[in-house]
Amino acid sequence: MDMPRNDVRPVELDIFATPKHLEHAAEQARKRNYQDFLIVDVDSHHYENEHYSEVFEYVESPVIRNELKEGAGRRTSVLNSQVGYQNTGGRIHRQKFRGKEKAKPGRHADIMLTLDWMDAMGVDYTCLFPTPMLFLGLHPQVEMEVAMCRAYNAWLCERILAPEPRIVSMLYLPFNDPEAAYRTVKDFGDKKGVVGFMVTSPRYKPVHDNAYVKTYALLEEMGKPISFHAAYSWEDRALQMTNRFISVHALGFMWFNMIHMTNWVINGLPVRFPKLKTMWIESGLTWAAGLMQRLDHSYMMRTSDAPLLKEKPSHYMQQMYYSTQPMEIPDDRSVMEATFKMINAKTQLVWSSDYQHWDFDLPSTIYDLPFLDETAKRNILGANAARLFGLDLKPVKKIP
């Protein structure tokens, strides 16, 4: 007869290893039989700044390359950043101690570390994004955004995406320079593991500018989706009035996407580019359901402001894709169920972890929802994204 286990271990805060940190996630994965079906994470992150010495070598301009290399570690930085305290005063200790983790040898550290957390959560494929570069659209020098974008994309394609088929990406678009954005799609669109292109949302260029039309047309022709990845800017005039990170984060991650979505729909881009797939990342879900109602209401009284539309704004929004995280979970689940219905979640919702960031979600945030049947759960967790990205439906993960 097996004796019940009685193990005892101390808590060692300063020792960090991803498999240990995510042991409970792996247990969830085993209990829910994630090995039986595909899970695709459409939004995860690495810390590209930890590899800037490699990335800078890919900068095409010798002058900017030198500025970046010489600027590293100085009191003022060549690259911009943001005020913020995402680790909640050290409470999210992963962010404090992860630097002590040693990746397994043999391959690039970011491949090994990414595969570790993917397997622990039960993820087959992940769409990897940068972290500090989410704010690069606010850099005062447009040519710096272009230079870093092209260098990062080239580095990511060569060092991460080419050698590891389970990691894909929607590549950074240097949106402040429309010509460079177009060139980026042309140059990188056919690279291995490139499943689309991503605009970082904090920026001040309207998405309906004619300058972007040829990029949208090219993306539509290539069948590659465009996504808008949310982030905050505490330097935004309105958000400057908030005094705590909770406030700027809660509002900021919706704010820029609400503006881009409004411009996208009201200017008839879904009508002009009917086959261009559009995804909205990391704004949660409630913003979309609220904005649908708001725009529909106004549209009925002001159709002359949006003459290209043949249907209400919500009709077009229901055909776009939404990543789940950070998924709001209200006490009254019927509110959530209504939100799912409004955004047509069964086909348009795609699960995302946002790991390694502080407010990541596990697949169980979807799998444990009582109002979804098994097919809907599997669609949201993997099949919808596989269809969008052209991925194989066969699971390939190795849950520990």
């Binding site: 005892v8 101390p10 805060l13 909640t88 999210i92």
Partner: protein
């Protein structure tokens, strides 16, 4: 219910913690200010290791007699924090700070001579 060995009291210093696998359960046992507390190590949020994160006092907004904000300080209530997402729990009750109606399951801690056990 069974008693599961945690530690020799002489080896379980004040301020320390142990994570005990008690059959199918994982329990965090805290020794703090002369008292022992034991809670389920499964966070009520997404199942993270609730008892394995930072311990920190509650944060207080200081409001003076004229209801003016005068900054922040730490209070006397000790919290432990789930390291996955920062859910905070009251060490004395296991209540979730964001919604006190929610509590981690609490377990009794007993001492037999020099040995500390958790009852689960």
């Amino acid at each position: 219910m069974a008693e599961w060995f945690v530690a020799k009291s002489s080896e379980f210093k004040d301020g320390d913690r142990r994570i005990v696998t008690a059959g199918p359960r994982e329990i965090g046992v805290f020794h703090k200010d002369g008292n022992y507390y034991a809670y389920s190590n499964i966070c009520l949020h997404q199942g993270g290791p609730a008892c394995e994160g930072m311990m920190i006092n509650n944060v207080v907004d200081v409001i003076d007699k004229d209801r003016l904000y005068q900054g922040q300080t730490y209070g006397d209530e000790m919290h432990f924090v789930c390291p996955w997402h920062g859910y905070e729990y009251d060490l004395k009750t296991g209540e979730c700070i964001g919604d006190r109606k929610q509590k981690l399951r609490k377990f009794e801690v007993v001492r037999r001579g020099d040995d500390i056990y958790v009852v689960a």
